[in-house]
Subunit: 245 residues, 2 copies
């Protein structure tokens, strides 16, 4: 155990921020920490768009399904998977860009997540709180239009940064035995671990909501993967030049 | 600046490891740090398979395109995007799993990358070195067969962990101005920044290889995105129940 590990283990999302602003030099440093993460073949397929304008922030908060902290947080970053920059470099060398490869989509999406998570760890090490905003994928076409994203670029998620004005509990996770397997995949570990975790999650929600939310992890998963989710994503991504082959 | 930020900024991949073993308790703690990362709707779509057996390690090293450190590192982890566990939970609740949603594929792939990066940061904070192994996607069907991965699970990458037996330089990254944009996407920043970075990368390779490697970032990008890359991925993923709609 050390202070970095302690920091990682104390993560929880923050959705209420104080009005204390974040210096731009800090935001720059945080994004730079993101750049220092590993990147597949050094492609660095990440573009971060920082949104300062109040009106744009409010539009994005709305597009994300009504998440007011997108507007009220100290800094809001849109993380884009960006194959347009390597395409530019390729063409500058006289190459012909190979569009729509699923492999390139994976590379770019993973690059974005690795970079963002480094930025998150750096932010939390400075006492900032964070919240990922997957809700930008509710209407990725509108987000793309608002931010002038070209083809070969898509908004993966947003990131709220700010000084916390709340101190929520850390959310309990799945038992390690259901997540870390050895030698082979073994779905035999699910039964007892998922059942145990269902009760942990139920207790967590009951305590946190004063008895108002009574739900298990399995119930939440039924709601999440037991129905279609953002069914526009496939068509949207294909239109933007991704996932064509 | 603090020690965590310093740690993040000093990352470089390690491909030569000492024989010092890693305690299993340490590996468990590192994977737990990964679990503490944010996860979309708490889906925790990550399964980590630790490979201990020498023979399997050698097979994976081979499948990854001949990367001997997959076999020689202290611990080797295969990071899988796993919708099979939430599917199990959904079905346990009497729900019907909605297969093949591109949105679920993104959620699971991002979850894996966030978790892995937390594990990487924790590992480096303990003095361990790491190397991501995207090469597992060279032949994901063979990797899946070797590890008994069921449908709704795919190997995103591997991760080598171990005590470093080399001390390579930190690789320079793209200028921040080409990566952090404001309000809108602006490809106007590419020209000067990419040209400057091309020279930085050329110098880095020349110095590092004693003059043997003479290449710029743009040249590397032409080689990467100027041709099809792992063209089997699309078909493989569809066969495993991903990216169907």
């Amino acid at each position: 155990m050390n202070s970095t590990i302690e920091l990682l283990q104390s993560h929880r999302s923050i959705r209420k921020f104080s009005e204390k602003p974040i210096d731009q030099s800090v935001v720059n440093q945080l994004v730079n920490c993101g750049q220092c993460a590993a990147t597949s073949s050094n492609v660095q397929a990440v573009t971060v768009i920082q949104i300062h304008e109040t009106e744009t922030r409010h539009k994005l908060a709305e597009l994300a399904g009504g998440q007011p902290y997108v507007a009220s947080c100290g800094a809001f970053l849109v993380y884009c998977a960006d194959l347009n920059r390597p395409k530019f470099a390729c063409q500058q060398q006289g190459g012909e860009f190979a569009p729509g490869m699923t492999e390139h989509f994976i590379i770019a999406t993973v690059d974005v997540a690795l970079a963002a998570q480094n930025t998150v760890v750096a932010a939390e090490s400075l006492g900032l709180g964070i919240c990922y905003i997957g809700g930008l994928r509710n209407n990725p076409a509108a987000v793309s239009a608002l931010l002038d994203l070209p083809d070969q670029v898509y908004p993966v998620f947003g990131l709220c940064l700010g000084y916390p004005d709340q101190d929520p509990e850390v959310k309990p996770r799945m038992p390690l035995d259901a997540v870390l397997m050895h030698e082979h995949y073994d779905s035999g570990v699910f039964d007892s671990n998922v059942n145990a975790y269902d009760e942990t999650v139920r207790d967590y929600y009951l305590t946190r909501t004063g008895g108002n939310k009574d739900s298990s992890w399995s119930q939440e998963m039924k709601a999440l993967v037991g129905k279609e989710s953002r069914p526009h994503m496939d068509g949207f991504l294909k239109e933007r030049g991704f996932l064509l082959k």
